[in-house]
Amino acid sequence: MSSTNANHAPSTVPASVPVNVYKTRWERAVPVFGFPVVTPFFIVLVGLAVIAFLLTSYREVVGLGPVTGMNDKFGWGIWKTFNVVVLTAWGSGAFAVGIAAWVFGRKRLHTLMRMALLTSMLAYACGLCLLGVDVGRPWNFYWVLFPWNWNVHSPMAEVAVCMSVYASIPLFLENIPPVLERLWHFDARWRPNVERVEHALHYFFPFIIALAYLLPAMHQSSLGALMLLAGDRVHPLWQSPFLPLLYVGAAAFMSFGCVAGSTMLCCLVWKRAMDMEVLDEAARITAWLIFGWMAIRLLAVLLRGALLDAFRFDRYAGIFWVEMILIGYGGWMLLQSLKTHKFRTMFLGYALSSVGGMLYRFSPTTLAYMPGPHAIYFPSTIELLIAMGFVAVGIAAFLVMVKLFAILPAPIQDWRDMAAYFKARKPYISWTKYFNFGFFGDKLPTDPTR
């Protein structure tokens, strides 16, 4: 019976009981089953996406000025500074968690990899699509295909080339395995072909993965280098030669927050058991990334001689302290959660440090950017709606993907539960033998109690 299985955990965790009493071990990605794809929340997301799509076509006709709050002083609005600069950093899980798992050999983190890869792909895809809406002359983007036309030392060229190459080649290929897996399970006749593709993919995998770490390291740092050319127009608390390094660092700890935090949230929503061993490891890495990052941040401020600016009574000092306190307190909560094993502490730690990191990534381009005495920028309603719509597309796609493909980690028992669930709910599967998941072929467990 399932109760004898050490891997099995109750599907719900009472809030009053500390989570770590359950010896749950994530071993396998299992699709979310038993929950409908179309929910009220999903419909709201689709509605937002549709509104954004309609407004985008309006923007394409009338231009940027009538639709956005951007102006001659603030040439960049939230589409670039939030949806691209901030959200691709938050969605850099494929980069940061991947390096921890594949390069530094944190083997247990492999269970989070599919979440990391999916969130990264969606963050980058939505960000790049919105970038296409944001730029004024997107039809000239084909120049990205001609390297002799790149201005190689421009941070912008670096971002434009690296980001599009990364999202369309290594990140895309890294996300193929769950799709192939689904095809493999779907129909036995497809298996030889699927296996052939998988074989080829696995052969090139080290080269793809390495590229998937090199390129984000390059473009996430170049996103920081973008503001170096703005010189004194970026407040001294932010402007520093360390900006590229700090931008990569922020992407690293924020993306851990994104991957581990959203995995925890998914487990809560879809009633999955949590593997505290994996989550503890992620929290420990995140906490030390945060403290290391804060040390470099303070060093950058000191070297720049801007420490006194932090103690002025103005909004820049305020933003600086809000950032530092959010990030630092988040890191401290993560360390606390390693001792107390409280879900709430750990989740809040991820949430606070992510919000702080987002604020940090947002400041140099917007909040701490001082282009002139009377310069002011506030996003217009349409601009906000489009930005929200592109985030909504990402979340909606995520909700569909975790239900169609094996993304979320779970104990092995959950895979068997899924098979049992579908066999019970959809009897035609046993007649036709055609089923997305749970069709085990020859290796169907023979244990009659299952």
Binding site: V103, V135, R137, N140, W143, N149, N151, P155, A210, A217
Partner: protein
């Protein structure tokens, strides 16, 4: 013992490590990296604007509009051409600095400075903004511009302007009337100035003229200095003024250009692409080993559980 193909490739790769490091390090010691990489125009021309002579008649503004075929900006009251700042119709503008304490006031003419090492050109991803090889004018190529508006941020003088309305937006900035120069005509603004406050000529001649004025009028000019002689690595448009340059919107940027100051490490790290290539090779080596181990574990688990391995 025969060398296998794998060994050969590995050894070549190992030999590449010191080469890559050397290629990167070779640029660290070099102080004049910028001078080597930014080509100097063969015959730089420019403007000399003497703010102490300008009477603020704004004839140059409308001459600029006429020369560039842009409509006058009457957005203020619908009657007068009175732009507040440079904008998509206005490549050249006269502003007034008038301090409230009644000390010396001054007009100032703002347009592109045509830097020797322009921030906008350094930042432009696909070389849509470029420096003319002969005249050194900073020009814009609409066939390459993606409209990212990075030039509006990377220009230390905040000159380039993006057209906010319309389906085919352009970047507008003073191009030193390059279309007139090829016909042997002077830029629009210099052809109408009634007092000779702005003159056109080869930069060397303009610089001599500016220094002559400083010499002949001791104490007249701020710091007895020509703005643009060395500022931001040297600009082709030169300024003389009675009031501090910063009051006229010309920031003190120092003799080193903004791109060479701020992108120094960017350039070193990416020189010859040696360091990224080295990093990539290292990553592949480590990951290959780890992928093998991971696959093995996955297949063992597959045998154990009877469920297909997930990689």
């Amino acid at each position: 013992m025969a060398i296998t193909r794998r060994e050969l490739i590995t050894n070549i790769g190992k030999a590449g490590v010191p080469v890559a490091v050397a290629m990167t390090m070779s640029t660290v010691g070099a102080g004049t990296l910028q001078a080597e990489e930014v080509p100097v125009p063969s015959a730089p021309v420019g403007l000399l604007y003497d703010a102490s002579l300008c009477i603020g008649c704004k004839a140059c503004e409308s001459a600029c509009n006429a020369a560039n075929d842009t409509p006058p900006d009457t957005s203020g009251d619908g009657l007068h051409q009175a732009p507040i700042d440079l904008n998509v119709f206005t490549r050249n503008i006269i502003k007034l600095y008038k301090p409230e304490d009644g000390s010396a006031s001054s007009f100032v003419k703002r347009q592109c400075m045509h830097c020797f090492d322009p921030g906008c050109v350094a930042g432009c991803p696909f070389e849509a903004l470029y420096k003319d090889e002969d005249t050194g004018a900073v020009r814009w190529d609409g066939g390459k511009c993606i409209g990212c508006r990075y030039c509006t941020i990377s220009c230390p003088y905040s000159v380039p302007r993006f057209q906010w309305a319309g389906i085919n937006p352009v970047i507008t900035k003073c191009e030193l009337c390059s279309h007139r120069l090829v016909k042997g005509l002077k830029p629009g603004c210099t052809s109408v100035c009634p007092v000779g406050a702005v003159i056109f000529g080869p930069r060397t001649v303009l610089l001599l003229e500016a220094k002559r004025r400083i010499k002949n009028n001791p104490g007249r000019y701020y710091q007895d200095r020509v703005y643009g002689e060395t500022d931001n690595g040297g600009t082709q448009c030169l300024y003389l003024s009675k009031v501090p340059f910063e009051k006229l919107g010309l920031p003190e940027l120092g003799p080193e250009s903004v791109p060479s100051k701020s992108l120094r490490w960017q350039k070193r790290i990416y020189s010859y692409f040696a360091l990224p290539a080295l990093l990539y090779a290292g990553l592949v080596t480590v990951i290959r080993k780890n992928v093998k181990g991971h696959e093995q574990e996955a297949h063992e688990q597959e045998k154990e559980t009877g469920l297909r391995a997930q990689l």
